[in-house]
């Protein structure tokens, strides 16, 4: 899933300041799981903004809230048509993709990012999210015992650990495991150490022209029907 953090409250207040009627829009998928912009965070932010306005005594905003199942999907965006009829701006708590999907779908409507989209990862434990994939476009997890060197090694290097690893930790951060020690240990457990002895050539950054696009190819996933 995509992981994000809500922007600092002051920054959000600053962003919405030119606008009167603000729709705070949550996302029911990734942003809900990472506690950055689900229904609950939308309602908290709504209350906080209202309260701040009352306290300051000179606010001119009116707020409404809503949470879509997903902001990155045109199908769900249709549900917004009614909600935006009388708002001046959408403060999206969706990831960067959600924000852009709204901008593309509603050309006349300003939309603001309420979260900083950070990475693709997983919930490690309650309240802790860890990055796990950088979408490199050439997955090599089969060669590295299911541990991603591109994301989990600070340098993203492919041919084994640098000399900076100490106590199994990374030279960049003593609290972070060295990806290559993890890979080494798991390859050993799996009796696959020979995979670490192979030479891995430089990455092909051309597998990711920006912006990327994927077209569905007929029959690739059709289970043996291709000829």
């Amino acid at each position: 899933m995509i992981v994000a953090e809500q922007k600092p409250f002051e920054e959000i207040k600053q962003m919405i300041s030119p606008y009167g009627r603000v729709l705070i829009l949550g996302c029911g998928t990734c942003m809900t799981v990472c506690d950055a912009g689900g229904e609950r965070e939308v309602s908290f932010l709504h209350s906080a903004l209202r309260l701040a306005q009352t306290k300051s005594g000179n606010g001119t905003h009116s707020f409404s809230e809503y949470t879509l199942k997903r902001q990155c999907d045109p199908e769900f965006l249709d549900l917004l048509v009614d909600k935006i009829a009388d708002v001046d701006v959408v403060l999206s708590l969706g990831c960067g993709i959600g924000v852009q999907a709204i901008a593309e779908r509603f050309p006349d409507l300003p939309v603001l990012p309420g979260v900083n989209t950070s990475f693709m990862g997983m919930t490690k434990e309650s309240g802790v999210w860890d990055e796990r994939c950088a979408a490199c476009g050439d997955c090599r997890l089969d060669e590295t015992a299911g541990i991603c060197p591109i994301t989990r090694c600070t340098k993203g290097i492919l041919n084994g650990p640098c000399a900076g690893t100490k106590n199994g930790k990374c030279e960049a951060n003593k609290d972070m495991d060295c990806a290559w020690i993890l890979i080494y240990q798991r390859l050993e457990t799996l009796h696959q150490l020979e995979r670490m002895r192979r030479y891995y050539p430089p990455r092909n950054f051309r597998t990711i022209p920006r912006p990327k696009r994927i077209l569905r190819q007929a029959s690739i996933n059709a289970g043996g029907s291709d000829d």
Partner: protein, 300 residues
């Protein structure tokens, strides 16, 4: 084919001494030149560090040009941290065109340990891939297979960490570096000769030259600081205790003594092909170490 004086020295079987100089942050090269002049006839080659510890400084290539100008034998340290494969190849062509033919290929420290923490970490290649890329250039094409007009030749090396706490993955990488074309190695700092002996027994099967890295410590505090903060350095407790025992102000003297003792034992036992002295900021004491190790003035 012999591609440099340094290679010639190592091939002759002589005990070889290299050291390194770290350029300053800024355009003033006076100290650098002073150290080059001081060391060029006392050692067989001088490494110039490449933004060591990811701290921005005067560049390695510029320092190597100065070593050359002043009649020394430079070893270009080249890291993958700041340049992509285009820039690395271009710098190598420039180096060769100016007679700089020894290259130490390193991945480079993490950006996070340096003074430009928000810079983009490049790491387009790693050290193994850099070694291989140099071999490709020598075969007459760039890394994409396009023909070169004028083909460079280098003597290339890499680093290895015999005292790493997880040593096997380091040895796997060492072997990959050998296969990729590394001809010489300068090890990370050695403090415990037992691990160097073990490593050399293992490394004897490979046709490469190995120089033991000797770090000159100036105090117990510096040793502890390096253990905590400098990538790839593990100073043994015995050495820290030795440094802690001397009276205030005598730390560097002790550090020189320790370095000289290590070097002398390595040479007397014929443990490896030479040593690489890293004085980290105290380049001026390298002649004292050589003298204390009874290695005075390696003939130029």
């Amino acid at each position: 084919m012999i591609n440099s004086l340094f290679e010639e020295k190592l091939s002759s079987g002589e005990f070889v001494v290299t050291t390194e100089v770290g350029p300053a942050k800024g355009a003033d090269t006076a100290d650098l030149v002073h150290h080059i002049d001081l060391l060029k006839d006392r050692v067989d080659a001088i490494n110039v560090t490449d933004h060591q510890s990811s701290v921005m400084r005067f560049p390695s290539l510029g320092g190597c040009l100065l070593v050359k100008e002043h009649g020394g034998e430079p070893i270009l340290q080249m890291t993958c941290r700041d340049r992509n494969r285009l820039a690395l190849q271009a710098d190598l062509l420039l180096a060769y065109s100016r007679g700089i033919t020894n290259v130490l290929c390193l991945t480079g420290d993490s950006i996070d340990v340096g003074d430009h923490k928000e810079a983009k970490p490049v790491f387009d290649l790693d050290s193994v891939q850099l070694l291989k890329m140099i071999r490709t250039l020598e075969s007459g094409t760039d890394i994409e297979g396009n023909e070169l007009k004028g083909v460079p030749r280098f003597y290339i090396g890499a680093s290895v960490h015999p005292e790493a706490d997880f040593v096997e993955p380091q040895l796997i990488k060492f072997e990959k570096k050998v296969s990729a074309g590394a001809q010489f190695f300068q090890t990370q700092g050695i403090f415990d000769l037992a691990s160097l002996r073990r490593f050399m027994q293992y490394a004897a099967q490979f046709n490469v030259k190995i120089l033991a890295g000797i770090i000159v410590l100036a105090s117990a505090r510096m040793a502890r600081y390096m253990n905590d903060n400098v990538p790839g350095i593990i100073v043994s407790q015995a050495i820290i205790d030795e440094l802690a025992d001397v009276e205030k102000g005598k730390g560097l003297q002790k550090g020189i003594e320790i370095a000289a003792r290590l070097i002398k034992t390595i040479k007397d036992e014929n443990l490896c092909h030479g040593v690489h002295i890293m004085a980290v900021g105290n380049e001026g004491v390298v002649p004292d170490i050589l003298e204390a190790a009874e290695l005075v003035s390696v003939s130029p």
